[in-house]
């Protein structure tokens, strides 16, 4: 592969080292750059988060199968990547999600029922981004990475980078996936973030599949190495290891808050479910792969570690399971109870200042609708 004049087509680097603090077998390992000490409470918290978020995902998938949701984008298998990234945030940090960041939404205090409302067709995201510092789900692949970069440029202009005050210095997270890494917007976001040294952490969950296209179709090099071409560091972390994801994200956020600029985190994980509930992965991938990744399950490895080290007993696990059941029950109940939106939203929400044209269309529709009421 090495051209005699131009040199190697691909960087001849060894397979990337995966930052890992907890092996798939539930063994705690250490890393020279990203080691952290975790309290038992923190570890139990991660377990609880991941278990509840998995239940949220399973419940939503079931609701779609029952016809209560039009669609659901599953996060199964990506719980550690999302809880690690979500719990590493400071309150003032701001997150720009894709449409699959249910675990990060959970960490930001967004009620799961609000996620259901979007996929039920009640609204297009009705949480207040400013209340949660969590933007609305963005469906156009990669578009939000530019919003994150611009928001981070705003943070710079507000003087909230590198002040040394941990309650004020602010970082921004741009979530995206391996498929989005091919999009122009993501690459432009890298260029802008590097050029302006913006305090943004690009967090890519490489779940190996962009609907049916494997990662190899998106990139000839490991994704985390892309950032080097743009002039900022990249790191690959075991995305099924909540400890490592947390530690790496926390360090990257602090680096951004300190004014050292953007960073790319590749959370190496696997999409255990379908792309969405409309997808059929059996058409394009081998069940062997899925079985292989089952052995790397993010929740199972933490459970093993907690039990083996006496940090979780049957009572704790039963308590979390009961909490998951209650969450599922509440999601079903509240999903069914979601009211349909008013048709007036059609016209009322388009602009901050409604135009006479929309007011006229609204009046015309109202008269049309009223004519049916008179007949009946």
């Amino acid at each position: 592969m090495t051209d005699p004049v131009f040199g190697p087509a691909l960087e001849q680097a060894p397979e990337p080292e995966l930052v890992q603090l907890l092996t798939p077998e539930g063994e705690r390992v250490h890393h020279p750059g990203f080691d952290l000490d975790f309290t038992a409470d923190e570890l139990r918290g991660f377990y609880r988060d991941m278990t509840l978020v998995r239940r949220l995902d399973v419940e939503a998938t079931a609701l779609q199968r029952h016809g209560e949701l039009g669609l659901w984008a599953q996060l199964l298998g990506q719980e550690a990547a999302q809880i690690g990234a979500g719990r590493a945030l400071a309150p003032q940090d701001y997150v720009f999600p894709t449409y699959r960041e249910h675990g990060v939404a959970w960490c930001r205090g967004v009620d799961p029922v609000r996620l259901l409302a979007l996929f039920r067709g009640v609204d297009q995201g009705d949480w207040d981004p400013a209340e949660h510092n969590f933007g609305l789900y963005t469906i156009v692949i990669g578009a939000q990475t530019l919003h994150a970069t611009g928001y981070a440029m705003g943070v710079q202009r507000d003087g909230l980078v590198g002040t040394g005050d941990p309650d004020r210095d602010t970082a921004v997270v741009a979530h995206f996936g391996d498929g989005a890494s091919s999009q122009g917007d993501v690459n432009e976001a890298f260029v802008f973030a590097a050029s302006f040294n913006a305090p943004v952490v690009f967090f890519c969950q490489n779940n190996q599949w962009a609907i049916s296209e494997p990662f190899e179709r998106q990139s000839r090099i490991p994704l985390y190495r892309r950032s080097q071409g743009f002039g900022f560091p990249g790191v690959r972390v075991d995305g099924n290891d909540v400890l490592a994801t947390y530690a790496v994200t926390k360090a990257a956020l602090q680096r951004a808050r300190d004014g050292q600029g953007p960073i790319l985190i590749e959370a190496y994980t696997y999409r255990m479910g379908a792309h969405t509930t409309t997808d059929d992965p059996t058409r394009y991938r081998l069940s062997d792969d899925v079985e292989h990744w089952k052995l790397k399950d993010p929740i199972a490895r933490l459970e093993v570690y907690l039990r083996r080290n006496g940090m979780a007993d049957d009572a704790f696990l039963a308590e979390v399971a009961a909490e998951a059941d209650a969450l599922g029950e509440r999601m079903r109940r509240e999903c069914h109870a979601l009211p349909d939106p008013s048709t007036h939203d059609l016209w009322d929400l388009v602009h901050a200042e409604k135009t006479p044209e929309l007011a006229a269309q609204q009046a015309e529709y109202d008269a049309h609708a009223a004519s049916f009421e008179e007949v009946h």
Partner: protein
């Protein structure tokens, strides 16, 4: 009161907007030290600093996309797209994000952004530098679209667009930037941004134009007057919302309407005006609404652009035809 070109009036308007609100930031290619390729932002970086007048990398989607993020953070970005034909890399961000975020968020997130686009032809340029893409933005719910045509108006309009809480595509007729000077009264009360207006009263037929074709229509009205025909000329100013109140009032008097724009006639703004006028004052019309515009061809090489652009003769010919029905 000062005498200014259109370029200077826009520059002065932007300066005033930046003085009035320190959240106003200007972004674009070459807008800093150079002052923009048309010098519309001349001197602003020197006076307001490079945190507020930002020379960006050369990527239009990146410019508009990062401006969305700045708007979410509470800023009021004024984005310069260097030329009309270069807006398309940003088209997705404009149509899918800028235009829809207010709706998507149920009004919780506002995008008070101005996207300035020098538009139209007549400057002898190479490809992509002379286009009129306005219909694509008028066709996009969530955007507002305005076009200035005169220095006195432009000074106020750009400030009003910056102060608006909705995203505004602000079209500037590039061939008029440096062509003529006019008195600009900086203390005069501004006309409402979302209103069109009669710029020359008349009684025999109505001409409707915006941006670069307003002056062409005024010239046509002058010539027609010498021939004994009184043409009313209306400057639309706002394309979305489209304010047809003065147009309809005029057509009810004249019975004849010709719409003039540089954009391709098919599904252009003129087509929408023809439909609405027909719906609203069908019985006042003495003739069908006619359109004079760019042909349905790509913008041509400069040596033949005069054939493509609506000119005085094509406008007067259309007026004549409205008297032939």
């Amino acid at each position: 009161m000062a005498t200014m070109t259109l370029a200077k009036a826009l520059n002065a308007g932007l300066r005033k907007a930046m003085e009035d609100d320190d959240k106003v930031v200007i972004m674009g290619e070459d807008v800093g030290a150079l002052g923009g390729v048309f010098r519309i932002t001349d001197g602003l970086q020197k006076d307001f600093g490079d945190a507020r007048v930002i020379d960006t990398p050369l990527a239009e989607s990146g410019i508009v996309g990062t401006a969305v993020g700045l708007a979410m953070r509470g800023y009021r970005p004024v984005v310069e797209i260097q030329f009309d034909g270069f807006v398309y890399p940003a088209y997705d961000q404009i149509v899918c994000q800028v235009a829809k975020i207010h709706y998507r968020s149920r009004g919780k997130v506002r995008i008070p952004m101005v996207i300035r686009i020098p538009f139209g032809g007549g400057i002898g340029a190479v490809e992509h530098h002379s286009e009129s893409p306005e219909a694509q933005f008028v066709h996009t719910p969530g955007l507002k679209v305005v076009a200035c045509s005169h220095p006195a108006d432009a000074y106020a309009m750009i400030q009003q667009a910056v102060h608006a809480d909705d995203p505004v595509v602000f079209l500037e007729p590039k061939r008029l930037y440096h062509s003529t000077k006019a008195e600009v009264d900086e203390s005069a009360p501004a006309a409402p941004l979302w209103q069109s207006r009669v710029v020359r009263p008349g009684s025999d037929a109505t001409l409707v134009a915006y941006g670069p074709t307003v002056s062409t229509c005024l010239d046509a009205a002058t010539v027609a007057a010498e021939e004994g025909r009184s043409l009313e000329v209306i400057d639309l100013r706002t394309l979305s919302p489209l304010d047809l109140v003065p147009v309809i009032e005029s057509v009810r008097r004249t019975g004849r309407l010709v719409v003039v724009h540089e954009a391709h006639v098919t599904l252009g703004v003129g087509a929408e005006i023809a439909a609405r006028v027909t719906e609203t004052c069908f019985h006042s019309l003495e003739a069908p609404v006619l359109r004079v515009g760019g042909f349905d061809t790509p913008y041509p090489p400069a040596r033949i652009e005069e054939a493509f652009l609506p000119d005085l003769d094509r406008i007067l010919d259309a007026v004549d035809r409205t008297f032939g029905f």
